[in-house]
């Protein structure tokens, strides 16, 4: 099922963080959302998850998500990999994964195998406390935790933040594989060029408004990118 945002506004008190954003992510697509700090990228993801006050429309398939509680959004097939990973450091890796099942719509253990295949470290270290993993391993765990819920839509908030280059490769390779499984992926990132290269479309957001949309063949067009960032 595809994710559709229509005329989305997010306001925190007097701050108008997202101004009339509309976009669509179809199944089997990665859509990038890039832009400078404070552009409204994370606010958009929070609004989708029911974590931020928003108006407009957020639909998955025919289902309107705006106004729902976060746990209900999760149970509607939307999973978020939050900024900073937010894994439960004191729980084991396996317990973190089992928490991901909370968002599942139907029972079944099939999704674990697929996740283990994608991220072997998650199986290897399953009985360790998650806090003992390295940053890159924790990021893989956070993505795995989102995937075991078997969502239709996967939202990622800066998954490469603070990771070593080799681990960034692991994360981006995983995103390719996830796209191949038919999920609709909305990727918020600071690594603009890398995102433009992998995504089917990338929207540049500044001051809460959509400035520019780039295709994968425009990843080298730094001039337009920089101009959009500074607008």
């Amino acid at each position: 099922m595809s994710l559709e945002l229509d005329n989305l506004h997010v306001r925190y008190g007097g701050v108008h963080a997202v101004r009339g954003l509309s976009l669509t992510v179809a199944p089997g697509e990665i859509v990038g959302l890039i832009g400078p700090n404070g552009a409204g990228k994370s606010s958009t993801l929070h609004a989708i998850m029911g974590l931020a006050p928003a108006t407009g429309s957020v639909r998955v398939g025919a289902r309107e998500l705006l106004g729902r509680r976060p746990e209900d959004v999760a149970r509607s097939g939307v999973a978020l990999v939050p900024e900073g990973r937010r894994i439960f450091a004191e729980l084991t890796v396996e317990e973190n994964l089992r928490l991901g099942f909370a968002g599942r719509r139907a029972a079944g253990a099939a999704s674990l195998d697929r996740v283990h295949e994608l991220f072997p470290v998650v199986r290897e270290y399953r009985s360790r406390p998650a806090g003992a993993l390295s940053g890159g391993q924790q990021q893989q765990l956070a993505i795995a935790r989102a995937l075991v819920a078997e969502p239709d839509v996967l939202l990622l908030d800066e998954p490469s933040l603070g990771l070593a280059p080799s681990v960034v490769d692991v994360v981006f390779d995983a995103l390719q594989a996830i796209r191949g499984q038919g999920l609709a992926v909305l990727l918020v990132e600071q690594r603009a060029q890398r995102t433009v290269a992998i995504a089917d479309r990338s929207h540049v957001l500044a001051n809460g408004e959509l400035q520019l949309t780039l295709g994968p063949d425009e990843a080298g067009d730094t001039e337009r990118l920089v101009a959009a960032y500074l607008s």
């Binding site: 974590l51 509680r69 149970r75 978020l80 939050p82 439960f88 991901g100």
Partner: protein
């Protein structure tokens, strides 16, 4: 068998252990709700008081023992659920100060309802009085209730531990007490987790009500009030947000209270709370994060 200079005998030690066991149950009951709601339920003692009145009424009406215990559980659980729906749920997410004051209000409300209905002289719960007789173990007399309390507390704590560690709802409760927002984002249902924590907490309060009425058969509106204050101090000493440190803290302060109560001459027992709270202040001065918090204070960068 007597440790002469302290005037300690096995019976006093057994009574101390029993009180520690009961306080440990109260500590876990308070700690479970604190974990998911960040709310210190000051009205916990009034749940115990309501259960004790239920037992007293049942014995006054001539109900059989099991009927009285069932009635006690029904009253305490119903009251816990009502408290959650009418007070905790609407206030969820408010500042800790607001929630604490709200639980004070609930505590006084329930205490005054009891005062209106039953008067200040209270009622007597006699159905479990036989547990006050003694068993002779290794030549020492031990109250039956001391043994029963320890066994019942151990079973209850074991069950709670099983629930938290081995079941899905237990995992959700642990996760919610670490990071509620992230748990909800993963699909953990907030209302279900909170209701369940309040329910388990209520069951423990009912168990405590049964145990305490054996030792204190006279049930008055301020029943369990002092115990709650002492347990809250113990929970703080142990560490509030983890079940095991809270249990240890509750046990320790109950044991200390029981022991001091046995050791102090009768004409000085009025100073008992003074000694207990002095000890609490001393512990918090030395270990502000609680006795059993082993985590390093150094934050990871």
């Amino acid at each position: 068998m007597t440790i002469a200079f302290l005037n300690l005998d096995l019976q006093t030690i057994a009574d101390g252990i029993a009180l520690g066991a009961i306080y440990a149950l109260m500590a876990v009951g308070i700690g479970l709700v604190f974990g998911v709601l960040r709310l210190v339920n000051f009205a916990y003692g009034q749940l115990v008081m309501a259960g004790a009145f239920a037992l007293a009424l049942a014995s006054q009406w001539g109900w059989p023992l099991w009927g009285g215990i069932l009635f006690c559980f029904a009253v305490v659980i119903a009251l816990s659920i009502a408290m959650e729906h009418l007070v905790f749920r609407p206030l969820r997410g408010h500042s800790p100060a607001v929630m604490l004051v709200a639980t004070f209000a609930v505590a006084f409300l329930l205490q005054n309802i009891a005062l209106l209905w039953f008067g200040s002289l209270g009622k007597i719960a006699t159905s479990l009085a036989f547990l006050n007789r003694v068993w002779t173990i290794f030549g020492a007399d031990v109250h039956k209730i001391a043994v029963v309390a320890v066994v019942v507390a151990a079973v209850c704590l074991g069950l709670v531990q099983f629930l938290l560690q081995r079941t899905e709802i237990g995992l959700h409760m642990r996760a919610a007490s670490m990071d509620f927002a992230t748990s909800r984002m993963l699909g953990v249902r907030a209302n279900r987790v909170v209701s369940f924590a309040v329910l388990v907490s209520g069951v423990l309060a009912a168990v405590v009500a049964v145990m305490l009425t054996v030792q204190t058969p006279l049930v008055t509106p301020d029943f369990a009030l002092r115990d709650t204050i002492v347990v809250l101090a113990g929970v703080v000493v142990g560490g509030l947000n983890r079940p095991i440190p809270a249990t240890l803290g509750g046990f320790l302060i109950g044991f200390t209270t029981g022991l001091l109560g046995g050791v102090l001459p009768t004409n000085q027992s009025q100073y008992l709370p003074t000694f207990v709270f002095a000890a609490v202040i001393l512990v918090l001065l030395v270990r502000p994060r609680g006795l059993f918090d082993l985590s390093k204070t150094v934050e990871r960068v």
